[in-house]
Amino acid sequence: MDFRFTAEQDEWREEVRAIIESLITPELEEEMQNNSDLGPGPAGKAFMRALGEKGLLGIPWEEKHGGLGRPLMDQYIFSEEIGRIGGLYTNSTAVNMVGPTITRVGTDEQQDEWIPKMLSGEVECALGYTEPGAGTDLAGLETRAVEDGDEFVINGQKMFTSAAHFSSHIWLLARTDPDAPKHRGLSVFLVPMDSPGITVRPLWRMDDGRTNEVFFDNVRIPRANQIGEPNRGWYHVAMALDFERVSLGGRYAGLLKRLNALVKYANETTANGAPLSQDPYVRGQFADLGIKLEVVRMFSYRTAWMIDQGQVPNYESSAQKIIATDLIQEIADFGVELLGMHGQLTKDSPHNRLDGELEQAYRSGIFLRFGGGANEVQRDIIARRGLGMPR
């Protein structure tokens, strides 16, 4: 067993880091500073497409699809480097979730049509799963797609569709057979966001980010845009979610950076005549969080490594999802506490500390514990899938 990166992997990391840094323009920095909660702006999109030109949107993709054909661990290293900076847009939903699903279940024509455009950044995807009545119980969704000649006609409403306002397409899960048992009557579609009949309405998140409601009113799309087997959409989406959980791992680098900033703050801030870092409670908290972060790293490596070995992560991606997302919240919570009264101040406030990043993290940290499959459900999965415990 060996937990260290190989020399080749270290070199790869250097390489992608240099590329990423070379692509960060002053415009992008300004945009991220002012605009980061709203989704990528023009500079963010340009950055993403530049990554595409360097091949970095298709790291683990087979060369026949236009990718670099590298191990998933290299993708993982890339995502750590992206995460280390934070706020960068990489067309991740398309290239890490939707694309891999299309290569597995799409027709050759569909692969030829969509994959290159995803790898270049031309096609970007919003996820159209959740509905007002169907969150954790996703299979209960009610948006309908009805065949009409060579087309499907879509009617319904999606909610919390985060990237809908800046994506070219929506990866839509809709009901195609209302008479089948609820998991068995769903299909997936790639729907252009500029189709007539689509309305996007913003929803504002408590962390100032934007998400959306998306309404479908007799939206017509070609039959060719239905991906994979009809009425097998549930299983295609489950596959995509597993990919998503894996990609969460890239959080390690960003959290490490945050924790290091807090260590520095604790070392340099005096309270009652001694550095904060010498407060017993503070030391214990740091150790617990630091250890958990190392667990996140090891769990992340494990899932990426398993996939590279041709194994399918079973309960392991759920484990990683729980640990990583709980920790995001815990670090933010502790961070605000460490900063004391200053911790409440926002990035716009005078006298804030560490750019007010912690209070924003406290608000946004709430999201991932239920988003992408609630952590309670992940525990159910570990017990049932991992341990064979009965329903």
């Binding site: 954790t136 929803l203 998140r205 408590m206 005096t270 919240q329 200053h342 101040l345 926002t346 609630a374």
Partner: protein
Amino acid sequence: MDLALTEAQEMLKNSAREFLERECPPSLVRAMEDDERGYPTHLWEQMAGLGWMGLAFPQEHGGEGGSLTDLAVLLEEMGRAMLPGPFFGTVVNVGLTILDAGSDFQIQQYIPRLASGALIGTAAMLEENAQYSQDGINMSGELSGDSLQLSGSKLFVESANTADLMLVPVRTSGSGEHGVTIALIPGTASGVSMSALESIARDRQYEVSFNSVSVPTEEILGGVGEGWPVLKRSLDRATALHCAVSVGGAQKVLEMTVEYTKQRVQFGRPIASFQSVQHDCADMVNAIDSARLATYQAIARLEDGLSADREIAMAKVLANHAYKWTTLTAQQLHGGIAFMEEYDLQMWTRRAKVAELKFGTSGPHREVFAQSMGLV
């Protein structure tokens, strides 16, 4: 031993809840987050009409003669409703401190007007280091003749924008517990200026700067250089009473969550029927009940003039946990809908985090408790 509210306290609780549900709904709280003043004048006047600002002051000074426990009952309801505005500062930070340590002149000068709501007060204690201890007071005060000259700045001053009277501890000599002097300063005093801070709670907090502000010595509270014990008692009272605010907020969030999970159907059943949801809610009940009992215990001891450091520390640790943990768990059980700004829950969630920071996080309070156990 008597663990019940009195009949009068029950009535106060019920009428306060009714009033606040009507006059201070979440929509108002939300509107006040972006309001320059931070609270509606007419609401303040209504509360004054109900005698709330005077509740805990003696009748001879224009109050209702109520107890600290009465006040805690009211504050619990205010926490429940997230009442915006300068009530806590006026009554607890300023009013009760003057009542405790003020000269006859000061008491007669200020208490009746604070009790009637005519005067709005705030404490300007914290400085750049934001420490709730004697070492936190470094802003300079210089005595010359009949006046005290103040220069420097204070942070996290709540509702400074509307304060008529500021309670400002400064250092006139020495270090540590000795040499702290508390000045009472009109909000409009010459040399006072302020700039807004932006907080996760979106309440009104300010940096207040004092540029050679001159205060006559009769406005010194508790004697020159003798301010620390006064301030310590004031902080103790405020810490315990603020726990009641947290308990009220947590209780409301629990109720909202139980309500929501009973309504929300997934997998063909209300999510309230899932064992993990039930256990989360059961743990909330225990956390909140623990905090509430500890809070009222601490307040009862303060009221009886007993030592209460241990009980206050415990109440703060438990209330910090109860409020914060209840809101975070509530967010998790609500999922996406409550992550939206337009849903009300997040207003409590943001306030719970600030309540944890105010009057000391759990770390230092745990240490106080550890010492009370006899650990050397």
